[in-house]
Homo-oligomer: 129 residues x 2
């Protein structure tokens, strides 16, 4: 089945497999729900952004949206990732849109509130009783 | 009103005010809903964890839970933060529990899925139509 557009969840990456495992768990609901979505790492882990764009292009996908699994934009998202994207667009002849980091979406703040509320109910029973 | 327990949302911190602004927006729903909750930064921004624990202790709070606003645990959460916490516990005579980083809670993965779904509906109309 053709998928004209691919969502790439971009995580920083780490040489610590436990770090990558957490991101794969974070990505799992998206990967299950959004056809053609994939996870990629900026550095220190694979698949890289280049791997995922290259594979997509081989499968006929020419439009990508990169959704950064970052809570806020620092140097990586303001400078490094746009540079990587410009390079990949030129090399593969594709269009790659860089979305805001997930932390810019208000849904994340609400999820954090719910995590903290749950934390108070379960983790601090002895302290808050 | 006495608040026997304080939740501290711990972010890494940055010298870039835009980065801190994003974390303050992320923290806002929690700060509005959870009495006595506060945000603190590991480094490069204020208030620091020491500031928040010290102020809490002055106000009679001796039990704290630190909820890391990190998607996954790297060196900071495995080593640096536990060291900072042990130091603050000794200096202030308080008990500080370090919760899992928010990214370990499945709610975050669901929020990410919803962000991506929204992204597909709004940001990629031209590409996916």
């Amino acid at each position: 089945m053709n998928q004209p557009h691919r969502i790439i969840l971009l995580a920083h990456g780490s040489s610590d497999q436990r770090w990558c495992d957490t991101f794969e768990q974070l990505a799992a609901p998206t990967l299950e729900s959004v056809e053609g979505s994939a996870i990629a790492y900026m550095e220190l882990a694979s698949p890289t952004l280049e791997d995922v764009v290259g594979t997509g292009k081989q499968n006929g996908i020419e439009q990508f949206t990169v959704v950064p699994l970052f809570l806020a934009a620092g140097r990586h998202l303001r400078k490094d990732v746009p540079g990587m994207i410009a390079d990949l667009e030129a090399r593969f002849g594709v269009v790659i849109r860089l979305a805001d980091p997930i932390g810019k979406n208000p849904r994340l703040g609400y999820a954090i509130r719910d995590v903290v509320t749950e934390e108070l109910e379960t983790g601090t029973e002895n302290a808050s009783g």
